[in-house]
Amino acid sequence: MEKFKMDGIYNDLIEYSDFAARLKDKFLNQVEKTNEIIILYNEAIKNTESEIKENENSMDKCKNEIKKMQEKIKVIEASTKNIKSTYQNIVDAYSKTSEGTTKNLYSEIIETARLNCEDETEKNEREITRLNDDIAAINNNISNFTKIIEELNINLEKQKVELSKYTKTLDYLKEQTRQISREIDNIANRKDVIKHSPRNDFLTNDAKPNYDNSVNTRDNLNAENKPKEEIKTNNRVDMDESLKQIYDLTGYNKKDKKESSFESDTNLENLFKGDEGQKKESDNQSEKINEWEKILNSPSDAISKDTPKNDDREKAINDLLKPYGTTIDRLKSLTTDKIIYKSGREVDFNITEDDLTRCINAINSMDLKSMKVLGPEITILRKLKLMKEGKN
């Protein structure tokens, strides 16, 4: 008998460990990218704040400029008032003299004063107008600065919100990475446990299979090979599951084999050789049988090339199960190979394509309600169980 090389549980753990490691890498990658984005946002926020400050400074300068201009206007207005007052004084002083050449002279003085006054006044008015125009332009600038500052503040707010989101995302990613690391450690521990469990030694020995009570082939064992004590490990049920899978894949029917004695390992070899009767039963398993034979190192020519494929049946049932988000293999992975009742009575449980087809065709509104609460897989499996028990 050639060695079993596969421990379903151990390989599952390796697969899960690889998956967890890949997931951790992805998370670390995301952490790195998120960190980069956070740095960019911090920089952007800094730039925006700086821009806001510059605009505010410019706006302040404009306001100061306007103040100065307004003060200058006041000064000019005061000057104009003064000029007019001076002129009036001259007019008052010189117009009292009324006769002769003095009158002409004083008239000339008054006229000159009037012309000067008008000149100055006009000059001052033009200056005031210019200053007012400047003030208007500067006010326009101030108004633009205000808009810019408002927009920058809105951008700043948005940037801060985004930064806060990315910061929370980073925290979440870091937490997830920590959890995955813990999970990877946990898997490593479990792998150690399985690797060093007595059951695993059994798997890599050349010794004859030593089944415990939970596997129905006990009846097939002769007195020599019957175990003197039951092997009890934490992995017993899953090991049985692996064996169940082997039986299912090869179409080996334990009930049919009850009569034959399990004298040597050649009987187990025959499971994988596939005699005429088994070929008919295993017509839906040829591809998987080929995979198993590689794993179990059975002779490659032991499996008949005439064994018909039944991928179509499996595909068909998986198509039926697709709306429920599951597959036949997945459903099988969620169950053991027997039902055990409180009384101790045990009944074999095996999921076939026909069973599932009947089950799915019988799904009613109650089942759909149950799917909504408990999920589709458990609902289908429970329905299948009830059908096999004859209760549905």
Binding site: V237, T336, L374, G375, R382
Partner: protein
Amino acid sequence: MEYLKMYGLTNEDIETIKNGVSDDIYSDLTLFAPLVKKNIEFLKNFGITNYSQVIVKYPDIFLRDEGSFENVFSKFDKDDLISKCLNNVAVIKKMVEFVDKN
């Protein structure tokens, strides 16, 4: 139900479960052991330290799809739930019932 010993349950605990559930639930717990184990692992990894008590008192809550089970826990604040469960495991059952009804 021997598989439950992996999670710290004793023979007495398993007997308590057997006496506390119907034959249907009991047989479901034996048949759907792989599914139950996945859900227990989730509970354990979630941070519920007294998960073995939850298994003994409310084994039926583990008879649901993984996605559905995880969904129940996603609805509540984690730290709050862990501390409340430590005081009284009945909070888990209440939580499941609440989510199922809503």
